[in-house]
């Protein structure tokens, strides 16, 4: 009965488009939520991978969230913190200590992340050495060999790094002492990176030992961070279940109400079709297939719209872009089609099995 199906759909195109748009919006929201959730999960794994066996020591007053968002405050560790740590009982477990000073600055009108780090920097007669990230180079126009000034200190660009440490492509890397002068923070350190093999001590115990040796500091370990973020993810997952159920509930309600409303308005047509010999099963089938099609098209539309939506959300909340969970495409398609079909089944089967004489008399 393609004639009735296609012509019927065409005659109610705007209603169906409206229903598909509702499905698309809900599906897009669900996918965006899922993408954000997946991205957060991935960032925890990335963080764990990046920290590896290392441990990060920050001033106790530092906001860890702000630190990872590259917003640095005035808090600092004392300049002798590396020596103090080496001399402490925890020192025997630590193979390497890298002291860093982080800060926010502006170079040639572009915002930059200053990273002072211990490294075998060369001595230059014409100024302090610096390596800059590719994005900062693009924004400032600085090239290898160029000079710039920061906080009254002259720097010469040794290199432009296409893949700078920790992905800081707006970073300017320099010796710690030069960073302290440029940022006006003599003797200040904002982070210690500890490396080594914690074979004879568990990470949590070492963290406590470090904090005991450096009062006013806090140690951040992979285990602690993953545990904290895992808690957030678990909460997110719990909400995701509620959001998914609610989302598909909304789809079912909208399609069900829309179908019921259309059934009511088309009662005469249905009564007529039954009167002239159309089987109720066929008519119910047409409505259910139509609803399933609306659901499937809406889900596809939702997927097409989910990318930009998810990236908008990601840009605002996470400061980056997201990958859509492609493994959810087919399940979402089937779920949306199934929910719409189920929602249309009840009103359409009720209408198709009504006594046609009553329907025709009423209408």
């Amino acid at each position: 009965m393609w004639l009735l199906f296609l012509k019927g759909m065409r005659s109610r195109l705007w209603e169906l488009v409206l229903a598909a748009v509702v499905v698309a919006l809900v599906v897009a929201a669900l996918i965006a939520q899922r993408a954000v959730s997946s991205s957060a999960e991935k960032s925890v794994h990335d963080l764990a991978h990046r920290l590896g066996r290392n441990m990060l020591v920050l001033p106790a007053a530092a906001d860890v969230g702000a630190f990872y968002a590259h917003r640095y405050g005035p808090e600092a560790l004392p300049a002798d913190a590396p020596a103090t740590l080496r001399a402490s009982p925890a020192g025997e477990h630590i193979q390497a200590i890298e002291a860093r000073l982080y800060g926010n600055a502006t170079i040639s009108g572009a915002p930059a992340l200053v990273v002072g780090q211990d490294y075998q920097w060369p001595k230059l007669p014409e100024g302090e050495p610096a390596v800059i990230g590719a994005e900062l180079a693009r924004r400032t126009g600085l090239k290898p060999g160029a000079s710039f000034e920061l906080g009254g200190v002259s720097f010469r660009v040794l290199d432009v790094s296409p893949s700078p440490p920790d992905g800081l492509d707006t970073g300017v890397f320099m010796p710690v002492a030069a960073a302290q002068r440029a940022l006006g923070r003599p003797g200040a350190l904002t982070a210690l990176r500890l490396g080594g093999c914690w074979c004879r001590i568990d990470v949590a115990t070492l963290g406590r030992e470090v904090e005991k040796a450096l009062p006013g500091a806090k140690s951040i370990t992979v285990a602690g961070m993953v545990q904290a973020q895992q808690g957030s993810l678990d909460t997110m997952r719990r909400y995701a279940t509620v959001v998914n159920v609610s989302g598909f509930g909304i789809i079912a309600a909208v399609v069900g109400i829309l179908t019921a409303s259309r059934v009511r308005r088309r009662a005469r047509e249905l009564g007529l079709l039954v009167a002239i010999g159309a089987s109720p099963a066929l008519l119910t089938g047409l409505w259910v297939v139509e609803a399933a099609l609306v659901g499937a098209l809406g889900a596809i539309g939702g997927w097409l719209g989910a990318g930009p939506l998810a990236n908008q959300v990601a840009a605002r909340l996470l400061g980056g872009t997201l990958e859509l969970p492609l493994d959810m495409l087919v399940p979402h398609l089937l779920l949306a089609a199934g929910v719409c079909a189920a929602a249309a089944l009840i009103p359409s089967s009720w209408a198709a099995t009504r006594d046609p004489t009553v329907v025709l008399r009423e209408s």
């Binding site: 009965m1 009735l4 007529l272 079709l273 002239i276 010999g277 046609p356 008399r361």
Partner: protein
């Protein structure tokens, strides 16, 4: 042959009041090729009788036969098939599907009956030609005059070549000229061997039909085929007599 034996139909009253007796022990026979007008005041059971004959509304008591088939002894699916192939309906308000063209409205029952696409369209077109409305085949119902719409309604009712054509006040919405045209078509169909049962309020049209059945308060009070006014007992006796002869 349509045979109705002691058919009664009762509707439950809305709000739990007294039941509505739409038909009371109606019995009659209609032969193939007969054109019968069913008349009576509003609420006398005319449409209910038509629906009972067409397999649309099961009687509370009694039996309805189309040929040798007891209509309400059939299952729902079989009765739907019967309605599709053996019975055609013409409605007072046409009941055409508004978003389909005339040709598509007419071809619909043929498709529902499983006719191949090409065959169904050819049949629908031939039916429209027979009723003199083929030129309007690509128009939608809203673009036709009421007389033309009713012709499309009749074309849809007869496209599957049903043995019985049931028309519920087919001229009720038409001007006298269009009504006469529709009556001429119904007469022609009856002459071609189809049994036509028509409900009408129009005494002029009823007078122009060979046989008139009159209902009042759900009872058959007059059947001109019997030659005299008669109640259920008279008709039942006549049916019984005819059956004993056959």
């Amino acid at each position: 042959m349509i045979r109705i034996e002691n058919v009664s139909k009762t509707y439950p009253a809305p709000g739990g009041g007294e039941e509505v007796h739409a038909l009371r022990e109606v019995s009659l026979q209609i032969r193939p090729g007969e054109l019968v007008a069913v008349i009576g005041p509003s609420g006398s059971g005319k449409s209910t009788l038509l629906h009972a004959i067409g397999g649309m509304s099961a009687p509370t008591a009694g039996q309805v036969f189309l040929g040798e088939t007891d209509v309400y002894d059939l299952g729902v699916q079989a009765r739907t098939e019967l309605r599709l192939k053996e019975v055609g309906y013409v409605f007072q308000t046409f009941n055409l599907v508004p978003y389909l063209t005339c040709l598509e409205n007419v071809v619909l029952p043929a498709y529902l009956a499983g006719a191949p696409r090409k065959d169904a369209r050819a049949r629908a077109l031939a039916t429209l030609e027979r009723l003199g409305i083929a030129a309007r085949r690509a128009h939608r119902p809203g673009e036709l005059s009421v007389g033309e719409r009713q012709r499309v309604g009749i074309a849809r009712a007869i496209v599957n070549g049903p043995r019985v054509l049931l028309a519920d006040e087919p001229t009720g919405n038409l001007d006298p000229a269009s009504a006469d045209e529709v009556m001429a078509i119904l007469r022609e169909l009856a002459a071609g061997g189809q049994t036509v049962v028509m409900v009408t309020h129009d005494p002029r049209l009823a007078a122009a039909t060979p046989r008139t059945i009159k209902l009042a308060a759900g009872r058959l009070v007059e059947d001109t085929a019997a030659g005299v006014a008669g109640g259920p007992a008279t008709t039942a006796a006549r049916v019984a007599a005819e059956r004993s002869l056959s």
